[in-house]
Symmetry: C2
Subunit: 288 residues, 2 copies
Amino acid sequence: MDQPDTVNTRSDLAARVVAWQRAGERIGLVPTMGNLHEGHLSLVRALRPQCDRLITSIFVNPLQFGPDEDLERYPRTLEADRKQLAAAGVDLVFAPGVKEIYPRGDQASTVVEVPTELTGQLCGRDRPGHFTGVATVVSKLFNLCRPDVAIFGEKDYQQLLVIRRLVEDLDFPVEVVSGPIVREDDGLAMSSRNHYLDPGERRRAPLLYRTLCELAEGLAAQPDRADALARQAESRLSEAGLEPDYVAVRDARTLGPPGAGPLRVLGAVRLGSTRLIDNVAVRPGAGT
Amino acid sequence: MDQPDTVNTRSDLAARVVAWQRAGERIGLVPTMGNLHEGHLSLVRALRPQCDRLITSIFVNPLQFGPDEDLERYPRTLEADRKQLAAAGVDLVFAPGVKEIYPRGDQASTVVEVPTELTGQLCGRDRPGHFTGVATVVSKLFNLCRPDVAIFGEKDYQQLLVIRRLVEDLDFPVEVVSGPIVREDDGLAMSSRNHYLDPGERRRAPLLYRTLCELAEGLAAQPDRADALARQAESRLSEAGLEPDYVAVRDARTLGPPGAGPLRVLGAVRLGSTRLIDNVAVRPGAGT
């Protein structure tokens, strides 16, 4: 097929989903905001063999954007997205408008609040309300698409943990799996927001990943110096014009302070008017 | 059967529910806090013909009780409840413990917040956090029991509207139906909390219903005097020792200020240490 079937309304979606459920088919969901790149497509390909029917949702969710953020300019490329999804074997694209998802307006919706121990730090501190918007729309997408399994990218690592916690706390009958970050040749994590970078910014952007990698290596060698090493990383980014929102070393499963368990290094910077995030795993003993 | 099957864990529940879903059976849910009376049983009987498999949950949800409320003394009568449910034709009782529903503790859970236009007034004003607790546990019960249809009593009228809004806003694939209030011979709405009343309080308690009925009749005749009539009703209750938390006239569908649509009269009083609530519909033109 040239294009996968696309539905724009909740009722058309429900008709398809209910029929698949009745037939005993296993449903997979890849939630996206569109403007698909290799990162998204890797999630589609990873989930495809795990389900009978694969849905990709394309919805730029206003509830997860702050008033001064990039909701208006966020790239929308539906026709190109659909072609790529067809090639990747998606069965159905759910591409609703804002009115379909928030008939009363997004500010009038019931919301889902994941505990602030997880959502009140890092990106959640810099973007108040962001994870409430994420948890709310993902709850809605789960109820609408009724997936058995859903996949989220590790690029948005804090989001991944928020969604795992949401599913655990509210008992959604959904298995959550994740896919690794896909990078450009120079290490920059793929992101729709990379389109915002001008050529000079684009050349400097890979420093975020390099700095996080070096921090992770340093930590493996000096696990007790997490805070000092993170501050050094922030200085280095700042000197190169990547203004850090944060660089942090966290427990990889809880985002709590670093302890005996696996660690994750996470960073967010402003490069011109663009906010970039990235993260890397710390391999125990890798630097020793 | 003498007793319906009872499961206490989420995994045992899921095994039953998944098997029913695969067989294409329609699942109904009657969520309760146990200590069942004729009000609950009327909901069971109303839903029984609408589904193939009927689940009743029995769970006293700590998250919907305030710190100074009656969580500890709330009556628990599981064995008597199960006998009544067997007679009413329930297929499965889900009776989990608190640790099963809130493994991290109820205060550490992701929560669901229905907009304050609905939850910030009446019982929600008098019981901060109450409807957050209700919306959260009902979301969990929906995800665990996966009902096609669920029934809630009109006795908790504000709760019924909160749940309808929750389902609408978060797109739960659940049909919500309601059952009318069941009353004692003297008009008192049936409630587990009636057990708290001493004989003297029990004799005075029906005044709540009588007063709300008279208010509703007065309104039908004098629709523009909602506020004055509600204040009169509060005075009358107060003089009889039923200390009003509120008496209110509201749009029956939104709980907004009375307008052109159907109206509902709602009241809450303290009688000794017991809080009683009740409500009645206003029949247009009934008093003219």
